[in-house]
């Protein structure tokens, strides 16, 4: 019963991510796309967590931790590129 709830939650987080893909495709500036991508990686981490609880696979939890921590690195690198023009 609770596993079905986790599956529904994972699907809902993915559906929220679809809204962010629209902004990622149609952002006027490059910064809008970076914001959408950062938020999308947060939603992806949540979806992976709930999918791990849905499918009873503990190995997927590390994927979620990786996503949540390395999206920060990506955003910082993009901000540095915007600010200085080089990486």
């Amino acid at each position: 019963m609770s596993h079905t709830l986790y599956g529904i939650l994972a699907l809902a987080e993915v559906a929220i991510g679809v809204l962010l893909v629209v902004r990622l495709a149609a952002g006027p500036t490059i910064s809008d796309r970076i914001v959408a991508l950062n938020t999308l990686s947060t939603q992806a981490a949540l979806a992976v967590l709930f999918y791990a609880a849905f499918a009873d696979r503990t190995i997927y939890l590390d994927v979620a931790i990786w996503l949540a921590s390395f999206s920060y690195l990506g955003a910082i690198v993009w901000a540095r590129y915007l600010e200085r023009g080089l990486l």
């Binding site: 939650l9 902004r23 500036t29 967590l49 503990t58 939890l61 921590s69 915007l82």
Partner: protein, 138 residues
């Protein structure tokens, strides 16, 4: 009882996440979108993670990983949003046409007030007593 708690927390988290995504879609400006991305998405992720903790029990693999992700999000998401907003402002991303105040530009102009370079992009009032009047008045 536990399922009801999980359901309530998940619905609250999904509501905030959905409102954050709609805000990112519909806000008129990069900076307001950053506001949605930083605050609303983080506060939508936390109840969903707490729902996972409650549903699986505190002593479990899922709960420990969910708490790690929650702590990571609370530290990392505001820092990344701040870096992005600062970099975008420095790169010259325009504000919304209805914006009334740009305090970062005002502070930058106040800092190099010695060499008065450009007075063409003054917004409202930037000559009003630097010492006493730099607290925000909103």
């Amino acid at each position: 009882m536990k399922t009801a708690a999980v359901l309530v927390l998940a619905v609250v988290g999904l509501f905030f996440s959905l409102s954050g995504a709609v805000g990112i879609l519909r806000m008129p400006d990069l900076y307001t979108r950053i506001q949605c991305s930083s605050k609303t998405i983080t506060m939508g992720a936390l109840p969903a993670l707490i729902a996972l903790v409650v549903g699986e029990g505190v002593i479990s693999n899922y709960a420990s990983r969910a708490l790690i992700v929650a702590a990571l999000l609370m530290i990392v998401n505001p820092a990344a949003s701040h870096a992005l907003g600062r970099a975008a402002h420095k790169a010259g991303v325009p504000m919304w046409s209805g914006a009334v105040r740009d305090e970062t530009a005002e502070r930058g102009r106040r800092l190099d007030a010695g060499r008065d370079t450009d007075s063409d992009r003054e917004s409202q009032d930037d000559e009003d007593g630097e010492g006493a009047g730099d607290g925000d008045r909103r």
